[in-house]
C-alpha cells in the first residue's frame, strides 16, 4: 500500500493558501514585522511573522466566533483548502482526523486574563484559564466533518510532524483509508514572552545557519494534508501531489530546552524514517531542515544530517523555510511537510531566507537567495521540539519508494502501574481497593523515591507520572521505549502564574525556567528525560478521556509497526480546576507498557457493533466499565457482573489507562478475558484484555 498526499492547505504569514505560500517562500521573501496582535513593548525582540487579515468570526460558524480561537480559524482555513484540493467531502466517506497544536486558545485566554483577576470577576479564573487543546479538534470536526476517528497530538515544535506520523500509522496499520492531518498554532503573549525570556528570539529577521544568526523568529500558521491510501484515491480519480513514504519519532532524553549537541537521536530518527520508506541516503535529494536559527539547533542539526546521510551529505540540498515564515511552533512540522510535498511536485527547492554566510559549523549544500529547480526524488522534513522530541517525515515522488504491506501487529501488555491513594499499584498487586474510589489529591510521599536533583524541574503532573512509569519495571535491554502521555489540559496553574507575573511585573521578569513547563508536551518531555526513554514521545489531550486517547494512540502506533515499546500513560493532576470541584475529582496517574512481542496480556479492540456475535464469557471473564456506555445488552456478555472502574480507581481523566492496568492485573490473577468498556471522543470503544 502507498500513501498519497492528495491535498495540501497552508495558511501562512506570507499567503492564505498553500501554493501562494510556496511561491512567496521560493522568492525568498520574509514576513517579519513589528507585532500587532498585542503590545510587544518592553520585550527584547518585538517582531514576528503574523498571518495578516485573519478574522476569526469570518471562519467560525455564525454566532460561534466568540468560542473560537485564532488557532481554530487557522486550522479550519488550511484544512478546508486541503479537502477542497483533494476533492474530498468528509460526510461522504470515512475520513479520519489528526490535529496538532501547542498554543490552542492561549491567545484568547490571555485577552480574558486581566478581567478574570479582578476580585469580583463573574467568571472563575479556573474555568477560563483552562484552554483545552482538544477544543481545536472539536472545532475542525464541527466545521468540516463528520470525521470518524479524531485525535489531538502535541509534542512542542515537532507537533506537526507527529500529527502526520499518527495519520501514517493509521493508514499503514489498515485503520484508515483517508486521513486529514495537520497542525495549527497562533501567536500569543505566552510563547512570545517565554521565548524572549529564554533569550531565544532574534530582534531582527532570523538567519538560519548563518554565521551571524542570533536566534529564532516566531511565526504562526496552519497546514493540513489529505493522506490517502493509493487504491482509495485511484478509485475516486484523485491524483498524488507526492507520496508519504517514511516517518519516525524519538526523544533525546537530554534537556527540556537544549538539544543534545551530538544529534544522536536526531540522526537515528532520520535513519529510521528512511528505513520505514525503504530508502537510503543516496535516494534523498533535499532536507527541509528544522533550522530555527538558534545558536544550538543549527550546528546540531547539520551534524545530525551529515551523520544520517553519510557520503550523500555533500550532494543533498538543505534549506530552512523558517527564514521566510518564522517558527510557527506546533504548526511548523505540518507547514514544512506541506511545502516539502509541493517542492517535490514542482521539482524546486525553496531557499533559506536570511542566510548569506553559512557558519563554519553549519556548512552544508545550502540554497541561498531564491529557489533552485532540481530533480527531486525523496526529501526529509525535520522537526525537533522542546524536551528533545524529534520527528522526521519522508516524502517522495509517487512510485519512487518501494511499495509496502499493511502492518497489523498484535499489541501486548508488558507491564503497568497506577497511582492510588494508598500508593503505586502494579499489575502483580493483588490488593486493589474493592469499591471505594476516593476523591482528592494523591499523597505527597508518592514521589519521594524520585532523585530530587534530577526531578527539580518537574511539575506535579510530571513528577507523579515519572514515579508511575518508574514503577513498571526496569528497562534494561537495548530496545528503545517511547511514551504517549495524556492529560486533560495544558498546565493551567503554572500558566496563570506565569502570565500574572508578566502582567504585574512586566515581560522582563517572566520566568525563563517556568516557560517550557507550560506546554502540554512537557509531560512527555520531562518523563522521557527523567526515565531516559528515547523512543517516540508525544502528548495527547482530551478533557474527559485523556487516558483513553493515550491508550488508543499508543496501541495504534505499536500495531502499525513503530519499532519502540510504548508507554500508554495518563495523568490527571490536582490543581485549581480540581479544587473548584473537589468531590468530582481524583488525582490519578497510570502507565501501561505496550509492545508487539508476546507479554502478560493481549489487547484486542472490538467494534461495539460486532459484540452480539462475539464469543461469550467464561466463568473467569470480567467486565470493567469506564464511563456510562451500556453496550452489553443483547450480547452474550449481558449477564456478566460489570465493575465500574470509577468505583475502584476513583473518577479521573486518566481512567482509560488505569482501567486496562486493573484489567491486566485481573488477567495476571487468573481471569481469561476482561472486557474494558471505554468512552472516547469518537464514541464507545471496547478493548478486550486477554490471557495469552
Amino acid at each position: 500500500m502507498r500513501i498519497w498526499v492528495t491535498g495540501v492547505g497552508i495558511v501562512s504569514p506570507l499567503a492564505p493558501t498553500a501554493r501562494a505560500t510556496m511561491d512567496r517562500v521560493c522568492q525568498g521573501t520574509h514576513a517579519f514585522r513589528r507585532v500587532t496582535l498585542f503590545d510587544p513593548d518592553g520585550q527584547r525582540c518585538q517582531i514576528a511573522a503574523e498571518v495578516p487579515d485573519l478574522r476569526v468570526q469570518d471562519v467560525a460558524p455564525r454566532n460561534q466566533g466568540h468560542e473560537w480561537s485564532r488557532t481554530d480559524a487557522l486550522a479550519v482555513t488550511a484544512a478546508r483548502e486541503a479537502l477542497r484540493e483533494a476533492r474530498i467531502v468528509p460526510s461522504h466517506g470515512c475520513v479520519d482526523l489528526v490535529v496538532g497544536t501547542t498554543t490552542g486558545a492561549t491567545f484568547e485566554t490571555e485577552e480574558l486574563l486581566p478581567g478574570l483577576l479582578l476580585p469580583d470577576s463573574p467568571t472563575p479564573l479556573s474555568r477560563a484559564i483552562v484552554h483545552p487543546l482538544s477544543l481545536t479538534v472539536e472545532h475542525v470536526a464541527s466545521a468540516l466533518g463528520p470525521f470518524r476517528r479524531r485525535r489531538l497530538v502535541s509534542s512542542a515544535c515537532s507537533t506537526g510532524a507527529n500529527a502526520l506520523l499518527l495519520a501514517a500509522a493509521w493508514l499503514r496499520g489498515g485503520l484508515s483509508s483517508c486521513v486529514l492531518a495537520g497542525a495549527s498554532d497562533s501567536l500569543c503573549r505566552l510563547t512570545f514572552t517565554g521565548f524572549n525570556a529564554l533569550g531565544s528570539l532574534d530582534p531582527s529577521p532570523c538567519r538560519p545557519f548563518d554565521a551571524s544568526r542570533a536566534g529564532l523568529g516566531l511565526g504562526e500558521g496552519a497546514a493540513f494534508l489529505v493522506l490517502e491510501r493509493e487504491d482509495h484515491a485511484r478509485n475516486r480519480g484523485a491524483h498524488p501531489i507526492a507520496e508519504l513514504v517514511g516517518w519516525a519519532a524519538g526523544a533525546e532524553a537530554h534537556h527540556i530546552t537544549n538539544p543534545e549537541p551530538d544529534g544522536v537521536v536526531a540522526t537515528r530518527t532520520m535513519r529510521r524514517a528512511l528505513d520505514v520508506a525503504g530508502l537510503g541516503p543516496d535516494d534523498v535529494d533535499y532536507v527541509n531542515a528544522h533550522g530555527t536559527a538558534t545558536p544550538l539547533n543549527d550546528p546540531m542539526e547539520v551534524r545530525a544530517i551529515r551523520q544520517a546521510l553519510g557520503s550523500a551529505f555533500d550532494r543533498v540540498l538543505v534549506s530552512s523555510t523558517k527564514g521566510q515564515l518564522g517558527h510557527s511552533l506546533g504548526a511548523a512540522g505540518a507547514v514544512e511537510a506541506a511545502l516539502t510535498a509541493l517542492a517535490i511536485e514542482q521539482q524546486r527547492v525553496p531557499p533559506t531566507a536570511g542566510l548569506t554566510t553559512p557558519a563554519a559549523d553549519c556548512q552544508a549544500h545550502h540554497v541561498l537567495g531564491s529557489s533552485r529547480p532540481t530533480p527531486l526524488r525523496a526529501a526529509l522534513s525535520n522537526s525537533f521540539g522542546f524536551g528533545g522530541l524529534d520527528g522526521v517525515i519522508v516524502l517522495a515522488r509517487p512510485d519512487f519508494a518501494p511499495d509496502r504491506e499493511t502492518v497489523q501487529k498484535t499489541v501486548w501488555v508488558h507491564g503497568g502501574a497506577t497511582a492510588l491513594h494508598d500508593g503505586v499499584h502494579d499489575i502483580h498487586n493483588d490488593r486493589w481497593p474493592s469499591s471505594h474510589g476516593t476523591t482528592g489529591p494523591l499523597p505527597d510521599d508518592l514521589t519521594t523515591g524520585l532523585d530530587p536533583a534530577r526531578a527539580r524541574r518537574l511539575g506535579r503532573a510530571e513528577r507523579i507520572l515519572a514515579a508511575v512509569v518508574g514503577a513498571v519495571h526496569p528497562l534494561d535491554d537495548e530496545r528503545t521505549t517511547g511514551i504517549v502521555a495524556g492529560k486533560p489540559s495544558g498546565n493551567p496553574d503554572a500558566t496563570s502564574r506565569f502570565l500574572d507575573r508578566v502582567r504585574l511585573r512586566g515581560p522582563r521578569f517572566a520566568s525563563p525556567a517556568d516557560f517550557p513547563n507550560l506546554m502540554l508536551s512537557s509531560l512527555a518531555g520531562h518523563v522521557s528525560i527523567y526515565q531516559r526513554l528515547q523512543g517516540l514521545a508525544l502528548a495527547t489531550s482530551s478533557t474527559e478521556q485523556a487516558g483513553t486517547a493515550s491508550l488508543l494512540t499508543a496501541c495504534e502506533l505499536v500495531a502499525s509497526g513503530i519499532p519502540d515499546r510504548i508507554f500508554a500513560a495518563a495523568v490527571d493532576p490536582w490543581g485549581m480546576v480540581a479544587e473548584a470541584n473537589p468531590t468530582q475529582h481524583t488525582e490519578a496517574a497510570a502507565a501501561l507498557l505496550l509492545d508487539a512481542t508476546p507479554g502478560i496480556a493481549r489487547l484486542v479492540f472490538i467494534d461495539p457493533d460486532s459484540l452480539p456475535t462475539c464469543p461469550g464469557p467464561s466463568t473467569s471473564s470480567k467486565v470493567l466499565q469506564v464511563g456510562d456506555s451500556n453496550v452489553l445488552e443483547g450480547t452474550p456478555w449481558r449477564d456478566v457482573h460489570v465493575t465500574r472502574a470509577e468505583d475502584v480507581l476513583g473518577p479521573s481523566a486518566a481512567l482509560g489507562v488505569a482501567a486496562v492496568v486493573l484489567a491486566t492485573a485481573w488477567v495476571a490473577a487468573g481471569a481469561d478475558r476482561v472486557l474494558v468498556l471505554l468512552s472516547s471522543e469518537e464514541g464507545g470503544a471496547i478493548v478486550s484484555v486477554d490471557a495469552p
Binding site: 525570556a197 533569550g199 530546552t257 537544549n258 527539580r456 524541574r457 511585573r505 522582563r508 520566568s511 525556567a513
Partner: protein, 90 residues
C-alpha cells in the same frame, strides 16, 4: 537586621532553581556555579532564571553576553556586581 548580600544570593539560588537538598549556607561563595561536574553544576536555563531573579530582587540590570558570564561565575562575583551597581559612579 537583614542578611548579607551573599547570603541573600544563596537563598535566591536555592529557591529559584528548586534545589531541594541544597542548604544555602553550604554553598561556597567562591565555587563555580555553572558547568557539569563543577560546584553546583547549574546549566544555561538556570543562568537565565537566576539573572531574572537577581534583577528583580536587587533592582539591578545585568548586561547581556560575555560580561554576564563573568558576573555569574560565583556567589562572590554576583555580590560584587550588585555592590558595584548600587554604588553611584564618582
Amino acid at each position: 537586621m537583614s542578611a548579607s548580600i551573599p547570603a541573600q544570593i544563596k537563598q535566591v539560588i536555592v529557591d529559584e532553581l528548586n534545589l531541594p537538598d541544597q542548604r544555602p549556607e553550604d554553598i561556597d561563595d567562591d565555587a563555580p556555579l555553572f558547568g557539569e561536574g563543577e560546584g553546583l553544576g547549574l546549566d544555561s536555563l538556570d543562568a537565565l532564571q537566576l539573572a531574572v531573579a537577581i534583577e528583580e530582587r536587587f533592582g539591578v540590570r545585568i548586561p547581556e553576553g560575555d560580561e554576564s558570564r563573568s558576573i555569574f561565575r560565583s556567589v562572590n562575583t554576583i555580590a560584587a556586581f550588585i555592590e558595584r551597581s548600587r554604588t553611584p559612579a564618582p
